[in-house]
Every structure is written in C-alpha cells, then in structure tokens.
Symmetry: C2
Subunit: 328 residues, 2 copies
C-alpha cells in the first residue's frame, strides 16, 4: 500500500512516518511505499523497509497537487496547514494555504477521478478549533460548528468540502478533529496552548515552565501516540460505518491543569512540580477560555478510535517515547 | 440609504425591490437609491421614488464584484445563487457561482475595507439545505450543519466565510437560512419542492396540480411576504444582538401536506381541493424525505423575525399579493 503524507515534516507527520517504519502493517495491508511532502523537506524515517520519497511542495501553488498525486497513492493524508496563530495574523496566507491548498488537492483528485476513476482514501486533519462561541461543557457530536478564528473557519470549510467530495464518490474521505496534543515534544513555542505541554515537558528535564492560567482551567488533550493511532486507524476503518458525516471528533481526555499537575507529581514527584512557576497571563487566559473543554466523541469511540483515560498515562507515554524512559 | 441587491432578477430579489418601492422606509432610514444586479437584466420596480440602477453581472467573473461595489452601497444583499438541482447536476458551475462568486464578493469588500475602512452590512441568503443526514424532528439552532447536497455545502461555506469576515470587522454580516417559499408564484417548475406551492397555486386558478407525496409529509415553509420581511428586518436589526453567530435559521411554519390541503379547502372550498391529483412519485418522495421538517428558530424569533402561524394565512397572502384578492 502506498501512502502520501502531505505535511510530512510537521510533528504529527514525522511521528506518523516513524510509526509506519516501526510497524508498516495497517489492518490487512502493509505499507510498502511512503511519499512524504511538505513546504520544507521532510525527513526520511529511519528503518522503513519500503520505498520512501520525500518531496517539497506547496499545495497552494500551480500544479503542485497534480504532481504530488501523480504516483496515485492509495491513501492521501492531508495534515498540512498554517497553524491557528499564523492564520489569524496573516489572513491571506491562512486562506491561501488552508482553504485554497485543500481545495486544490481535492480538485486534483477530482480531475484524476473523472479521467480514470481513481478514488483514493483521503484522511483530513481537522481540529477542535472548528468549535467556538457558546457551547455546553461537554460538546456532543451533533453540535454546530461556529469557529471564532480564521483557522477554525478554514478547517470547517475543509470538512464541508471533504464531505461533499466524498458523497459524490470523488474520493473516500474521513476527517479527524484532532484535540490538543500533549505532551508536545520539542522546544517551548509561542502557541497559546503551549503551556499545557510545557508544564509537563520542561519539569521532566529539570527546567522551569511558566503556567499562565489557573489550575481550574479544563482542556481536551491526547498524546502524540494516540494521535498517530487515530491516523493509523483511519487508514483501514470501514467507511460504510462512517456514513454521510465523515468528519469525526476524536476522543481525548478532559483534564484540568490541576489534574495535570497532580499526575506529574504522581509520576515524577514533588521536585518536578516545583519547576512549575505560576505566571498569570490575562491574554492567554482569555484565549484559552474560548476553547472547548470536553466532547462526547461518541461516534469516534464507537468506531474504534481510542485515547488515554488517565493523564498519568499521557505523561508516561511521553517519558517512554521522548525521554527513553528516563526522567531528570 | 443605498441598497445593492445581487440576485435582483430572482423571485425574492424582484419582490424585495417591489416592497422597497411600496415602502422605502427601513427602521430610521429611507432607501433613496437601489442597485439591482443579476446575471440577467433585473427589472426596475414600478413606483420607486429614488434612483434605481439595474446591472448585469456575474460575481464569478473577473472584476465583477469590484465594479458592483464601486458605488459603495450601505447594504449589500447577496441573494444570487445557482439553485439546488443545478448545483447538484453541474459540480463546477455550482462551486464557481455559489462558492467562488460569494468569496469574490467578500474579497472585494475586504479590499475596499482595507483601503478605505468601508464596512457595509452584508445580508446573505442561506438555506435550510445546509442541514442534512439524520436530524431531530425539530432542529435546534445549535444543531450541526452536515449538508447532503453540493448546494447546501456551498451555502454552509458561505455562512462560515460570512461569520469570519464579520468577526474580523471586514463587513457586518448577517446570514438568513431561508425556508421553502410557499406559495411560490409563477409557472410550475421542476424543483423537487415545487409541489408544495403547486397544490395551492394551480387549484386557485382552476388548474390541476400533481401531488407526488403522501399527505403525511411535513415541511417547513413561509410566504414570499414573510421572506421579504426577513430581508427588510435584516437591514436594521442591531447586529450586536446577533453576537458571534451571525447565521440564523429563519422562522417558518411546519405543516403537513394534509394540513395544506385542509387549509385550501377552508379558504377556497372543495372545488379547489378537487384539482389536486394524487400521483405518487417515489423519487420525489425520497428526496423530500431527506429534508428538515421543522426548526426551533429561537434566536431569529427572539430577534424579531416573524412568520405566519397558520397555513390559511399563507394562502390568503398569495391570493392578496398574486391574484388581486380573487380566486377562480
């Protein structure tokens, strides 16, 4: 089976490629060919036994989509996007990459579908940012999408296009509304959500981390490991079960910052918690206040998507996957 | 006040212009200038006391949107669309007119907003076709939009764009999800929903009408008169009350075909009902079965949008407005 991963240089794309190298079997199929594409050169995953091609491409440009698809992969993973903060700061870039880029990709598939009947599976990374405004504490699957950012708007439009192209038989789409990923590896970044990872990641290596919000703040998060499992599961899931609503809210764990901290204490000890420095930031607090705190995610759970149910397990997954099992 | 009505040659656009001719006062303002635009030449409404300009333009073409907006109207009514059946039959035309055309319009406003701070009100005609798939008998305002047609998809995308551009202060948007309009004047057309009007309109002038579905079929409809009132009310409504969800399901009447027929009997008599010929059509029955039957429309009602509450009143409005008060 041949997989094309657009956005292959991003954190999720890279981890997904590594996961396929470690275990290329998806359901009844084996991934024998992997094409990674991104606006910056993706890295070939170590240990993959099949063919790997790494390409640099920007979906918003000319015939980029047509070229990427010329090898007619069996599954197209569309993980590429301008992230939330940048799409908000740069209106034109956000719409160009997140909306036009997605539409270019879908249109290129439509052209090939019309010409030769090619009908790949398309796995689309959406986001909980499609939700906004007033919502209940626990958002059900049939709740309206009223994003309050341009990024969320662009993702919601992508979901609508995915559903319409799928309904018309142009491709077989499935959209995954990804939760916040925690613990996000790497250096601290300036994303408003960064502290959810920072207060775990930094203390575990003996560094201080700033906590800009109250301990009572609740958020919806899952591990990188679970996110990769979502992508793997989406490869082989029977789409007949998904029906006419192919965009699914992924399961995750609804947890408060206080619960995160207590889990850190349990897994690593008081010394780690002592590295968390409370530094209230009203701007971040206000942004985070607009985010969803929990979802039912019933459809995804019934379709076999799974997540951690205790935050300790999210911390332990991070220690195993990123720290070789060792903490400072 | 200067109003631009894009889609001014359509049934609703024409009736809106006639309504403004009859009464140019909208809230505290008087409409002194009216620009009507459509892909076919719109007709100047009789009796309008201000300036009327009629333009032929296709929003999906070149600089059409910029030209239409060059007179900087105070309110832009965007009523133009490829209808449901055609958007389903012609994928490219539907996306070109309904999505690209809408986006061209919004982008042209954005350019003028950036340059000179112009920030008109934009009234966008959406449709209940944004709903699809499983839904409850009575759909609440916060129910998810999962359209099952390309037309519904395009309208839902337009809603998302309207909300994002409004949130960013590019224009002041309000979207109206219009119900089925009944009694639709004119000749029978081939729309799957045509019979809801046909079984009233044709008998009242002594003609036979075909009824392709069972008497138990329930649907959501309002009069042309109410639809025009929605457009008038949207001109002056305080948008601060609409908040961060500017797309509203308009109120209407949830009525069964059987109730329509009994109302016709009450208003016109048995002779009129005798003109309804039952002619079951499984294809139409199946299409209609996928349509929403009722909405709560609480937000629109609380914002002062109103509709008929008895189907007799819808029939009487038709007799007054279209038949000069006389029936066959």
């Amino acid at each position: 089976m041949h997989l094309l991963v657009i956005g292959g240089a991003g954190m999720i794309g890279r981890k997904f490629a590594e996961s396929l190298a470690a275990n290329p079997v998806l359901g009844q199929n084996t991934v024998t060919r992997l094409t990674l594409a991104d606006v910056v050169p993706p890295q070939e995953p170590a240990g993959f036994h099949g063919d790997v091609t790494c390409l640099t491409a920007d979906l918003s440009e000319g015939q980029a989509a047509e070229k990427l698809l010329s090898s007619r992969p069996d599954i197209v993973y569309h993980l590429a996007a301008i992230v939330s903060g940048e799409a908000e700061a740069d209106f034109e870039k956000g719409y160009r990459i997140n909306l036009d880029g997605t539409r270019n990709l879908f249109e290129a598939i439509r052209a090939a579908n019309t010409e030769e009947g090619w009908c790949p599976r398309v796995v689309y990374a959406s986001s909980n940012a499609v939700y906004g405004g007033d919502f209940p504490d626990v958002i059900p699957d049939d709740y309206i999408l009223t994003p309050q950012t341009s990024y969320g708007t662009q993702k919601a439009i992508g979901e609508l296009l995915l559903a319409d192209y799928s309904r018309r038989g142009i491709f077989q789409g499935i959209g995954l509304r990804l939760p916040t990923i925690c613990v996000r590896p790497g250096k601290p970044n300036r994303a408003a959500s960064g502290f959810f990872s920072g207060i775990i990641r930094e203390p575990l290596v003996g560094l201080d981390a700033l906590l800009p919000v109250a301990d009572t703040v609740r958020h919806w998060m899952t591990s990188p490991r679970s996110a990769i499992q979502f992508l793997r599961h989406a490869a082989t899931l029977d789409l007949a079960l998904v029906g006419d609503r192919p965009n699914l809210t992924m399961p995750a764990l609804s947890v408060t910052v206080g619960e995160q901290i207590e889990a850190l204490r349990k897994v690593a000890g008081d010394w780690a918690v002592a590295h968390i420095r409370r530094d209230p930031d009203p701007t971040i607090a206000r942004i985070v206040d607009g985010w969803a705190r929990a979802f039912e995610a019933r459809r995804a759970l019934s379709l076999g998507f799974t997540t951690e149910t205790r935050f300790e397990d999210i911390i332990r997954a991070h220690i195993e996957d990123e720290l070789d099992g060792r903490i400072a």
